[in-house]
């Protein structure tokens, strides 16, 4: 048997599971169909660490959300990713909304959310002057936070990698065969054997589950469109602003991101095509319209990009987590919101079950911490000087919008689970994520990737094979 565990999917949940499994004396591999970690739902979401008042008490969503949310701060220190506890507000616009608001508050108390309280309209407006004058009251949860979803996922995956987990990219799982003592997982790039398989395949978790289990599950891809705004308007609100929720989710939220942009979204529309991350005119319009309900005015001119992500919505309405009808096969499926918040706790829980079932003990040499890529933009001058002294490439600015240097980009490419694509560099360093959206730096980043990976620039891609940028023409 090659592996003790195969994790399918290198999104935030797969990465969290891999990282927690790497604490144990187990041989773990992660199979990912994309060319990098964090290429699916994990890269296109709200980046919110929910306080935990939304999920119904007793559900897995509630359980893992609250647990995960409590783990996030320490995890951010251990693994060096951006996280901020900025608090969240759920807005009510009329006296009729108060029942719902009180219900959320009660849920929050039952779920163990700390310091949650209801504020009057005036209190809310003092706190967040940019909010609509129509705000009647709001539920305030000071423990709500925001996180960089790429930073979190990459940190977990890198740490797993350093602790011995192998990651296999561009390997879509085609079939899983149960054998006497485990599983054979067939992918486009080869067969992998393992005693256990953990399904963290996001919107495809139903397909993976149904390859193995008789009791079928169904995951619907629910598209969410967002608009991202320039840092100039990043401080329009300081908390994450929700509205009293409806049937399809929490509605359009308005939030600062950990990097200081303003984010508005998501819409919620079910789609049959699980690759459909196209934005639509209607979607963008309803994001703006939704934002306009909460805000006095939406800073329309400052939009720098729009994007769409797919939530993995289970018919059951709750997360599907843990052991299944087939021994050795575990699910982490139906992970929609608050999945990002819950991921660390899901990872811990699954790793706990798997290690218990396999009788694995903890490793002695587990490395619990990870240092992220140096960040020239936020470093003080002393740190900057020190970095340049170590490597003068930290003095060459490549992305002028986000002040990302060649040193940071080279670090992103050459570190464990390094970037191999332009999108990979972007998620790790923010090069190309600023207001010019890579117009200026993309040719340079392509050149650095080609040099560091020792490939011709014609083979450099946006996000894997088929997304090449340029050809030779002479």
């Amino acid at each position: 048997m090659d592996n003790d565990c195969i994790v399918i999917g290198a999104g935030v949940v797969g990465a969290a599971i891999a990282r927690e499994l790497s604490r144990y004396d187990l041989k773990v591999a992660v199979l990912e169909k994309a060319s990098d970690v964090c290429e699916g739902t994990s890269k296109a979401n709200s980046g919110i660490v929910h306080a935990g008042f939304d999920a119904k008490p007793g559900t897995l969503k509630a359980l893992y959300n609250v647990k995960g949310s409590l783990m996030m701060e320490q995890l951010s220190r251990e693994l060096d990713f951006d996280y901020k506890r900025n608090g969240s507000l759920v807005l009510a616009f009329a006296p009729e909304d108060m029942d719902k608001l009180n219900e959320l508050k009660d849920r929050g108390i039952k779920n163990g959310v700390k310091d949650i309280k209801i504020l009057t309209g005036d209190e809310v407006k003092t706190m967040e002057p940019a909010l609509s004058d129509d705000v009647y009251a709001a539920l305030y949860a000071p423990t709500g936070g925001i996180v960089c979803p790429f930073g979190l996922t990459l940190a977990l995956a890198e740490n797993a990698c350093v602790n011995g987990v192998s990651f296999v990219f561009s390997s879509e799982v085609e079939n899983i065969e149960k054998t006497e003592d485990g599983f054979v997982v067939k992918t486009g790039t080869g067969e992998y054997h393992a005693r256990t398989v953990i399904n963290a395949a996001g919107v495809y978790a139903d397909a993976i589950h149904n390859m193995v289990c008789e009791d079928k599950i169904n995951i619907t891809a629910r598209k969410g469109e967002y608009c991202l705004y320039d840092k100039k308007v990043g401080n329009l609100v300081s908390s994450t602003i929700f509205r009293v929720p409806g049937a399809m989710g929490k509605g359009i939220l308005v939030t600062p991101t950990v990097h200081g942009n303003l984010l508005i979204g998501p819409t919620a529309e079910d789609t049959d095509d699980k690759e459909n991350v196209a934005t639509t005119a209607e979607g963008i319009a309803s994001v703006i319209k939704g934002g306009a309900v909460s805000l006095k005015s939406v800073p329309g001119k400052s939009v720098i990009t729009s994007f769409a992500g797919l939530r993995a919505h289970s018919d059951k309405g709750d997360f599907i987590i843990g052991r299944t009808s087939v021994k050795g096969f575990y699910d982490a499926a139906g992970i929609e919101s608050p999945g990002l918040s819950a991921a660390p706790a899901i990872g811990e829980a699954i790793a706990g079950m798997v290690s218990e079932d396999l009788g694995a003990g903890l490793k002695e040499n587990f490395i619990a911490t990870r240092k992220g890529i140096p960040n020239m933009a936020h470093a003080d001058d002393e740190t900057r000087k020190e970095l340049i002294k170590q490597d003068e490439r930290f003095a060459t600015v490549v992305c002028r919008c986000e002040l990302v240097t060649e040193g940071e980009i080279v670090n992103a490419i050459t570190r464990p689970l390094g970037a191999t694509t332009l999108d990979g560099v972007k998620r790790r360093t923010r090069a190309g994520m600023g207001r010019c959206q890579s117009g200026f730096c993309s040719p340079t980043v392509m050149g650095i990737l080609a040099r560091e990976l020792d490939k011709p620039v014609t083979e450099i891609t946006k996000h894997g094979k088929g997304s090449e940028f340029v050809t030779d023409h002479k």
Binding site: C227, L228, E275, V277, A278, T279, T280, A281, G283, I284, K301, V303, I304, T305, S306, F307, D381, R384, K385, I388, K389, E392, R393, A395, T396, V397, R400, C401, L403, R435, C436, Q437, G439, F440, S442, P443, G447, V457, T458, T461, K462, H463, G464, K465, G466, S467, E468, F469, V470, T471, D472, H473, K474
Partner: protein, 421 residues
């Protein structure tokens, strides 16, 4: 380090400003340039048509740049290459970063902002669809083709008929690509007529006016775009959609002055131009800080960038020599826009500081036939000039005489407007 004049940017504006400041008697000048050679965006603008006003001959971008690089060299002007200005404070301390020098600061008596502009990205247009490889701003494609010898694609649709888009339509065609269409959301092109004829008509490339991209297909690489006609409010008209197969979409949808550093130091920006608010001396809201070229407002001709920047260089030199600035600088008189005029540069005039002639550059908001460009000082019309046509794509200018400006009385303004429209 201390310098009398620090110029941020070594493109056409920065070089012209440096040359003029030197010729005005200031020796202690440094130009900060982030690229490894001076010249700025001109180095990738390899087409011809530059310099007709300045040199009375038609040059390509690199040749035009070379003329100014040589002028700077002849004057021994110091240009710090591969050096990035990362911060400027209101007291005119510039923090720079380079491989040779690491992080260092320069205290300046005067600063000339000449950072140029950048392209409006796709996000600002909020075009729906996927985000595959194959979507480039026209300038990025220009850099790839002209400086790196790489082709961004073989079947191309261009959104936006600004000059860079038109130039790239021809460039891609000459390099063997098929340019299927240039779509322009407005009912008129923002590009020069000459470019429409010589870059599109010459190669039978259709220019589709009142047309935009409403969808982009292709998950990995662009596979097609959907074009649709728009109504007067620029909203797509249902039923007019047309799918055009292509592997590349170039965006040429306008330029934005690049004022991150200006904002960091607290310079007041104009919401219309996106550039600093300046007076007749091209001095910003911070004393001793000047601006010129595309960082101030987006130009269509580099000749006017050079001219404007020369003026800024000369004025900065005067400031350093103590001939202007602190003493005697009143609040000045406002330059206001009237009928048809979208903005002016400058927006403030200090009569005590003006030279014999003061150029006011402006753009109109629409296409106007047979307008009269008028300038009123108070209620006195001092300029009335008939034009056959004014269009938003072509910058206009009027030149005011010192004597006329001297007649300004308290409470009066200078007003630039179109009549007979």
């Amino acid at each position: 380090m201390h310098k009398q004049i620090v110029i941020i940017g070594g493109g056409p504006a920065g070089l012209a400003a440096a040359v003029a400041a030197k010729d005005s008697g200031i020796d202690d000048i440094v130009v900060i340039e982030r690229a490894s050679s001076p010249g700025g965006i001109l180095m990738q603008c390899i087409h011809n048509g530059f310099g007709l006003h300045t040199f009375k001959e038609e040059l390509t971008g690199p040749e035009y740049a070379e003329r100014f690089i040589r002028k700077a060299e002849e004057r021994n002007i110091e240009i710090l290459l591969s050096t990035f200005a990362i911060d400027i404070t209101a007291d005119k301390t510039v923090t720079c970063m380079s491989r040779d020098k690491g992080i260092f600061t320069i205290e300046a008596d005067a600063i000339i902002l000449a950072m140029g502009c950048r392209e409006r990205p796709r996000g600002a247009l909020n075009t729906p669809g996927y985000r595959p490889a194959g979507i480039y701003s026209a300038g990025t494609a220009q850099k790839l083709v002209n400086l790196e010898g790489k082709m961004p694609g073989s079947e191309v649709v261009i959104l936006g008929s600004g000059d860079i888009g038109l130039i790239m339509a021809r460039r891609m065609t000459l390099e063997g690509a098929k340019v299927k269409a240039v779509a322009e959301i407005m009912p008129y092109s923002g590009g020069l007529k000459r470019n429409i004829v010589q870059c599109l008509d010459d190669f039978s490339i259709p220019l589709l006016l009142s047309t935009t991209v409403v969808d982009i297909a292709g998950k990995d690489r662009v596979e097609s775009v959907t074009l649709a006609k728009v109504d007067e409010k620029l909203n797509p008209i249902p039923g007019t959609e047309e799918v055009v197969k292509c592997d590349t979409l170039l965006l040429s949808c306008g330029l934005l002055p690049e004022n991150e550093l200006s904002q960091q130091m607290g310079v007041t920006l104009s919401p219309v131009t996106g550039g600093p608010v300046v007076d007749e001396s091209l001095e910003t809201s911070i004393e001793g800080v000047f601006a010129a070229g595309n960082v101030l407002h987006v130009h269509d001709l580099v000749d006017y960038v050079s001219e404007e920047a020369s003026n800024a260089g000369a004025k900065a030199a005067e400031y350093v020599k103590g001939l202007s600035g602190k003493a005697g600088k009143g609040t000045g008189y406002k330059v206001e826009t009237g009928n048809g005029v979208r903005y002016t540069v400058p927006t403030i005039i200090h009569p005590e500081k003006v030279s014999d002639l003061t150029t006011i550059r402006f753009r109109v908001g629409n296409v106007y036939k047979n307008p009269e460009i008028c300038v009123y000082i108070g209620d006195r019309c001092v300029i009335r000039r008939k034009k056959m046509i004014c269009a938003p794509g072509e910058m206009e200018q009027v030149v005011l005489k010192k004597d006329d400006i001297a007649t300004l009385k308290d409470g009066e303004t200078v007003k630039v407007l179109l009549e007979n429209i």
